[in-house]
């Protein structure tokens, strides 16, 4: 059957089902395929904190949203065009996220009595029967039955057969968007290399889903979202945590240091450890410590020994590392601390996203303890900023905080990956051996950047003692001298301030300095702000956007930029943190726009905030 393809500019698909339905796998497979097809894209996986949340319930629903287009895509999309649901709970939870007249693809076997009850849908309110879905384009099939049907020859048990049903859905959606199956078949071949029966079953069902879509005459046409016109280059798909890990590896490779990672598993940061552990051929030492404190302390030990040392965690874990952060700062040794932020306080919302650890990173230590803080704006930007964190740590002999969050850490996008030769050099050198004639070694003597030397054990003639007690300004010996302490506090602050000379100047991401309003963002709100500002420009509303990636110290010209605007709006996924720093440092009357719901901003929410501010 030949069908015409209907061309679409952009589409948002939300896959949703029970956490055991393989939704995340379906989503990531569709993402890889979409990326290879050449679309720009952005994803948002959303899953319960429980590994096996109660089956069939709303709490157990796992979702994966992907927004792709022939145009530039910066967010996973506000509301979706297509909602794929495997059971009643998934529909109930996500129906409000579907656009009017949107498409629903639905597995009817997930709407039996039991599933309806588990989803908390009252008897007689079955959405398949009560006309509540009128107004949507609903395509319903018994996917479970169809899957069993095509595996009736298979020797697998019912449970294993049923687990293939996500492949049916994937095949079905591939057909809808005119895709080839190769990338997923290759993936399955690798994943199930040692389990030929499961491999065969999955491939069979994947193909069956594809052919079923073709022959069932559900759609009068297929859809095509043409490849995006992206800048020339080589691309791959990348997930935020993976990008962070690659950035760390690249920095170690370029600086010719061994990479040491000490950490304790925590959601949503663990994938950094997993990714690093995969690439041990790069000489990466990963150390799963007994707790968060040992994670950072082992990294301090490794850095003291001359490795590029890193620890990563999320809010509660970072809180535990606080004292050790102070030690690293006193020792003035390189250390990278990644905080993949999640909803807080306390255990908070482990699998949900938030930007609420900014002030913790900037201020969260005893004493006057300035540590540079930088933040990534998107999944692929995690690479750039992880690399930057290492560069600053090594070149300025300081611990450095890198902030990402659950949203970009788990989200994916196409990445024009760099050539290793194009990466910035990282200047690194250990102190050389000294003879007695050269006099006493002064470990806290500083260069013009106020940076001391990295004098590692094993270096003859530079034996010295470090510690957390206040140090004499040159010898590093313990000093309780009042003048010395004040001097050291100021010099440690000045050292961090001077990093501003070695970071890029702030630029406007879009809009001009003549605009009335500036949207000032940081971190993962980048995509949503970018989308809105572009949209508004088309609608004739002139708004500027600047995104801060270097937060402590801030770019030297930020104050000048801010001075150009009458209105400044700061959207954050917290109760107002960057805004405190901006008001404090620049005395500007910036206004907050806050969302603290564990989910990222939708573009329309920011748009409303901007329009509201312009109206006043």
């Amino acid at each position: 059957m030949t069908q015409v393809s209907k061309k679409l500019e952009q589409v948002t698909v939300l896959f949703a089902g029970d956490s055991g339905d393989g939704i995340q796998l379906t989503g990531t497979q569709f993402t890889t395929n979409t990326a290879l097809y050449g679309n720009d894209l952005s994803t948002f996986p959303d899953f319960p904190a429980e590994i096996r949340a109660p089956l069939g319930t709303i709490a157990g629903v796992s979702g994966f949203q992907i927004h792709f287009g022939s145009v530039d895509v910066y967010t996973p999309g506000d509301r979706c065009d297509v909602l794929v649901v495997m059971n009643a709970a998934a529909l109930k939870k996500n129906l409000s996220r579907l656009k009017e007249r949107g498409t629903i693809i639905l597995n009817t076997s997930g709407f039996d009595k039991r599933n309806l009850r588990l989803a908390g849908i009252e008897e007689g309110q079955n959405p398949l029967l009560n006309h509540s879905l009128e107004g949507f384009k609903v395509h319903e099939f018994d996917i479970t039955k169809l899957t069993r049907e095509c595996l009736k020859e298979s020797s697998l048990g019912t449970k294993d057969r049923d687990r293939c049903k996500n492949m049916f859905v994937l095949g079905f959606v591939y057909w809808m968007y005119n895709r080839k199956l190769d990338s997923s078949i290759d993936f399955l071949k690798t994943k199930f290399a040692s389990k030929p029966e499961i491999l065969e079953a999955n491939v069979t069902v994947l193909k069956a889903g594809y052919h079923f879509a073709d022959t069932c005459e559900t759609f009068s046409n297929r859809f095509e979202v043409k490849p995006t016109k992206m800048p020339t280059g080589s691309y791959r798909n990348i997930i935020g945590n993976q990008a962070t890990a690659l950035g760390l590896i690249a920095a170690a490779h370029k600086s010719k240091l061994d990479l040491f990672y000490g950490g304790y598993p925590i959601t949503p940061a663990s994938d950094i450890l997993h990714e690093l552990a995969k690439h041990k051929n790069f000489g990466i030492k990963t150390f799963q410590a007994e707790d968060e404190i040992a994670g950072i302390c082992s990294a301090i030990g490794a850095s003291y020994g001359g490795d590029l040392a890193v620890t990563a965690s999320s809010g509660p874990g970072i809180a535990l590392k606080g004292e050790a952060l102070g030690l690293a700062l006193m020792l003035e040794i390189p250390l990278v601390i990644v905080n993949v932020q999640r909803g807080g306080p306390s255990t908070g919302l482990p699998t949900k996203t938030e930007q609420s650890d900014l002030l913790q990173a900037v201020y969260g230590r005893n004493g006057e303890a300035p540590i540079p803080v930088i933040a990534a704006a998107s999944p692929s930007d995690c690479f750039t900023m992880a690399y930057e964190a290492c560069r600053i740590a090594i070149e300025h002999m300081t611990p450095v905080f890198l902030l990402t969050d659950g949203y970009i850490a788990n989200g994916a996008e196409p990445w024009k990956y760099p050539n290793s030769s194009d990466l910035a050099d990282i200047k690194q050198s250990f102190t050389k051996e000294r003879t007695e004639e050269s006099g006493a070694y002064l470990p806290y003597k500083r260069d013009e950047k106020l940076v001391r030397e990295w004098a590692i054990p094993g270096t003859k003639g530079v034996e010295h003692r470090l510690g957390g007690l206040e140090k004499d300004k040159e010898s590093g010996n313990v000093s309780y001298e009042p003048e010395n302490h004040e001097y050291m506090v100021k010099i440690r602050a000045e050292k961090v301030d001077r990093i501003a000379d070695f970071i890029p100047k702030q630029e406007l991401d879009s809009g001009s300095e003549k605009s009335k309003l500036l949207v000032l963002g940081w971190g993962s709100t980048y995509g949503a702000i970018k989308t809105v500002v572009k949209e508004l420009a088309i609608e004739g509303v002139d708004v500027a956007h600047a995104h801060i990636k270097y937060i402590q110290p801030m770019p030297k010209n930020l104050g000048e930029i801010l001075a150009n605007f009458e209105l400044i709006l700061i959207p954050e996924m917290n109760n107002g943190q960057l805004i405190k720093l901006i008001r404090d440092q620049y005395l500007v009357d910036a206004k907050p726009l806050n969302k603290i719901k564990g989910v990222p901003f939708e573009a329309r929410e920011i748009k409303a905030g901007i329009l509201n501010m312009l109206k006043q």
Partner: protein
């Protein structure tokens, strides 16, 4: 080779003085720490290790000032975490000789978790645990090794904390070298320090150390001339467990129960006694339980020396072996390949 020879010659020339730093020592006069410091400084030249390859790491507490007084590399870190820092250092630098200085509060209270994990991982380093059964630096509160009922500023009615038996704890944590020494027995201490450095793995040496300000005489039973021989049992591999001022008492193992026997009445001879075997985990476990209050009638003597020693793989070696294996398997790392991953596309 010539270079190696030079280093060797230079190392041979080192004396205890070369390990004395230029810092004034700030321990209280009469503190047991002085004696330990002196023994450590005098043992160092005998190790045959260049000074720059030696690192002392400590936590917080009186004993943890130690690194400042050693003219080697050193770090006075934070409370309880020297163990974790030293682990990271060994993982990064298996070429260094790492010495960890800690106290009963530092390692058994605030740093208890890191201590047990370090022991099971068996990083090759030496832990000197200065046990004075009191918090000195915070001016005299009870510690996790203080005896039950101890009256201190924080326990005016007496402590109701059952104390740790540190060596039994270390055995339970899969330690591969467990020893006990005393600040007042310098020669014995030196021998133990040498053995600790020779042991490939985590060497745990508990050192009874007198705090003459807040807990004076805590170990008097084992150090006072009149009582020490009656209360102490010096362990030697392959030798029978004999003690007493006149070497007139021994210990036999009666089933699982250690029993003190009289060597003077002809019933038992030295050959009948428990022969110390450092390699025997079961016996070492029982030995660490020789923990009676020496003032009690019929108390078992407190053992000093090496309780247990076992050869077991070191974490840092296994770590590096894994890296070598994967390097062999995957070949020279190619950063560009890694950045590209397995699925790429070109935009023209």
């Amino acid at each position: 080779m010539a270079e190696a020879k030079d280093i060797q010659e230079e190392v041979q020339k080192l004396t205890a003085k070369d390990f004395v730093s230029d810092q004034d020592i700030r321990w209280c006069p009469g503190c047991g720490d002085y004696s330990i410091l002196k023994q450590v400084q005098s043992v160092m030249p005998e190790l045959g290790i260049p000074k720059e390859d030696i690192v002392f790491i400590s936590g917080i507490g009186c004993s943890s000032r130690f690194p400042y007084y050693m003219n080697t590399f050193g770090m006075h870190s934070i409370h309880g975490r020297a163990t974790a820092i030293a682990s990271g250092l060994r993982a990064a630098r298996p070429d260094l000789s790492v010495w960890l200085i800690t106290g009963d509060g530092d390692s058994l209270s605030i740093g208890g978790n890191h201590l047990i994990h370090l022991l099971r991982r068996n990083f090759n380093l030496n832990i000197l645990l200065f046990n004075n059964q009191i918090y000195g630096l915070t001016k005299g509160q009870y510690s996790p090794t203080s005896e039950l009922g101890k009256k201190t500023k924080s326990t005016p009615m007496g402590s109701i904390d059952h104390p740790f038996n540190p060596l039994a704890l270390c055995m339970g944590a899969e330690s591969t070298f467990v020893a006990r020494a005393l600040d007042r027995e310098p020669k014995h201490l030196r021998n133990i320090l040498m053995r600790a450095e020779q042991h490939q793995g985590t060497s745990l040496v508990e050192i009874y150390q007198n705090c003459n300000i807040f807990n004076d005489g805590a170990f008097g039973g084992f150090t006072d001339k009149q009582t020490k021989k009656e209360n102490s049992l010096y362990l030697e591999h392959g030798q029978p467990l004999v003690f007493g001022a006149k070497e007139d008492k021994g210990v036999i193992l009666d089933g699982f129960e250690p029993r003190i026997v009289d060597l003077t009445n002809g019933e038992f001879a030295k050959e009948d006694l428990w022969i110390h075997d450092e390699k025997c985990r079961n016996k070492a476990n029982i030995l660490t339980r020789f923990f009676d209050d020496p003032s009690n009638e019929g108390a078992l003597p407190r053992p000093f020396g090496i309780f247990y020693q076992e050869e077991r793989f070191r974490y840092e070696e296994a770590l590096n072996e894994q890296l070598d294996t994967v390097k062999e398997l995957k070949g020279v790392p190619d950063l560009d390949k890694l950045l590209a991953g397995s699925n790429t596309w070109e935009v023209e």
